[in-house]
Subunit: 333 residues, 2 copies
């Protein structure tokens, strides 16, 4: 059990002011960006206070529409995200942005040079932007992102954009986290093959062909349309629209916002929103429970039972199934 609710920062860094969790939460709810930042830092640091923070936030969650933005490097994700933020602001929405860097656990990830574009919105108090680079710590995206989303949601964001870098596994994870997944493509990038390979044709709720002023944009749209036509969709299912944009000149973003709104309306009326959110909560609960168990397994009876079992399996004296049984038995006793 956690006995203190002080949120004092770490020794060594700049010492942060002490504030109670209820105080931080109420300041975040009033839109204080420093309180939001502090709460997300508690998430990234896997603070023991998280438990208290999440309990305090729970009643205020469920309001924000979560939009995942994904696509191959070079399609213009950052520019599109920035332009989309501007468009959403025109509609009076409060916007949160989580830029997620799925870097390897080793490289640490600092290749987000064009994150600076986001500085356009730096002075807007109704836009909250956060770059999350802490992959690997306790499960990466799977662990920290849902909790950071809860913070932004409770802080009153109407729309939260999650932007991911790169291709592959991270896109699939994003699709699991978002209410609406927006897949970006651009002409001249061999996206046809890339798209099929990464499976992004199965996760998009909305496709955006960016750089639509370039040669080949119509071809990308045609290819996309014929590939999407092959999908086996049931009656009443959402048909992902394809929108053309030139994000650099903010062209087509009104249409993107319109389609995001329509998708949200469909999610609500079809019952899909509740289904997606329940599934997401399920994954989150499981991840927390599994992490709690791993911590206990690592330190049973003062020493690590799991280490002993692992040594025995490594030596061929036991097999992993028998060892897993022993581990579970030791825990449920």
């Amino acid at each position: 059990m956690v006995s203190t609710s002080s949120t004092t920062g770490k020794v060594g860094g700049r010492r942060r002011s002490t504030a109670s969790v209820p105080d931080l939460v109420s300041r975040a709810r009033e839109g204080d960006p420093r309180a939001v930042a502090r709460l997300i830092s508690l998430v990234e640091d896997a603070s023991p206070l998280l438990r208290e923070v999440m309990a305090a936030l729970a009643p205020y969650t469920g309001h924000a529409q979560i939009v995942g933005i994904t696509g191959s490097p070079g399609v213009g994700k950052s520019t599109s995200t920035s332009a989309l933020v501007s468009e959403l602001r025109k509609h009076g929405k409060r916007v949160g942005v989580l830029a997620v860097d799925p870097s390897s656990p080793f490289s640490g990830g600092a290749l987000l040079g064009d994150r600076v574009r986001m500085q356009d919105h730096a002075l807007d108090r109704d836009v909250y932007i956060r770059s999350m680079a802490s992959r690997g710590h306790l499960g990466g995206l799977a662990w920290t992102t849902p909790q950071a989303l809860r913070v932004l949601d409770a802080a009153g964001c109407d729309v939260i954009l999650i932007e991911t870098v790169g291709v592959g596994q991270s896109e699939v994870e994003i699709a699991g986290l978002a209410d609406t997944t927006m897949v970006l493509l651009a002409p001249g990038m061999g996206d046809g093959i890339q798209a099929a390979k990464a499976g992004i044709l199965e996760i998009g709720d909305l496709y955006v062909v960016n750089k639509a002023d370039r040669d080949g944009a119509d071809q990308v749209r045609r290819d996309l349309r014929s590939m999407l036509a092959l999908a086996d969709r049931s009656e009443g299912a959402w048909k992902p629209p394809i929108v053309k944009t030139v994000a650099q000149r903010s062209e087509g973003l009104d249409e993107v916002v319109e389609q995001i709104d329509q998708h949200y309306a469909w999610l609500r009326s079809s019952g899909e929103l509740e289904k997606r959110r329940t599934r997401r909560a399920r994954d989150e609960i499981e991840a927390i429970a599994v992490t709690a168990l791993r911590e206990r397994w690592g330190d049973v009876h003062g020493r690590s039972e799991l280490d002993d079992l692992a040594a025995s399996v490594a030596a061929g004296k036991s097999d992993p199934y028998a060892a897993a049984d022993e581990l579970l038995d030791a825990f449920t006793d």
Copy 2:
């Protein structure tokens, strides 16, 4: 509990002959490739017999050196793997090859066209080659690969090569599974940036500059050497060598085998082998225990307790930590 140990294949497919697990294991130990294939299929299908299979194999494991082979697409991984198999055969080694396709859970993964090169070894009974494409099923690589390795190890392979396709996360996973990780590079592929990005400079025990007859091979070696020189290695630590090869003409493979041998000798003498294997067993036990728990959580008291908890969190009535506590309490009662 499993009450039968028949290994009859699925209805619908070609009906396989029924064989008991002990029978299959003893045939695999004698080098019968069909028995090995059948055991790996049991792994891929997550057969309920796995528990019995792994118990029967355990006493025969720990003999094989596991070599991970990784690198960006186009560096010549398949050709190098094939040439390395030939070289290892010259040294009288029994060789296993697991070709792992880290495809997305959606696309299913069938881009392994050049796997046919492996056909060179198809008639050699001391070479066992298997392509594993079943990502996502129950945790992908993390779940099936260690068990397939156990099968090949118990079947008497001296060296098992794991070849992975693509870059990124899968390389890190491979490094966790292998005793020796071999990173392939080639000139003219922008590997400098790629390498740093994917973090492969931190996982290699051995670096191979393939296509060394091409322009720029020496430059790749020089870049690599200066980057490796920056690494902070403790006294007695392994210094990853850099070997040049032309795999297509089988040049330099003798040196690769020599370095793989030296690394294995160092692993043994330094105690690092035991450490790596214990860590691997630990991960494997955890994965099995967690999967067992997830199955139980999904179906407590005849209906899914976890689903109810998830619905309550999604509705903002509870938070994920409180729900995880409830889940663990329900389980330990």
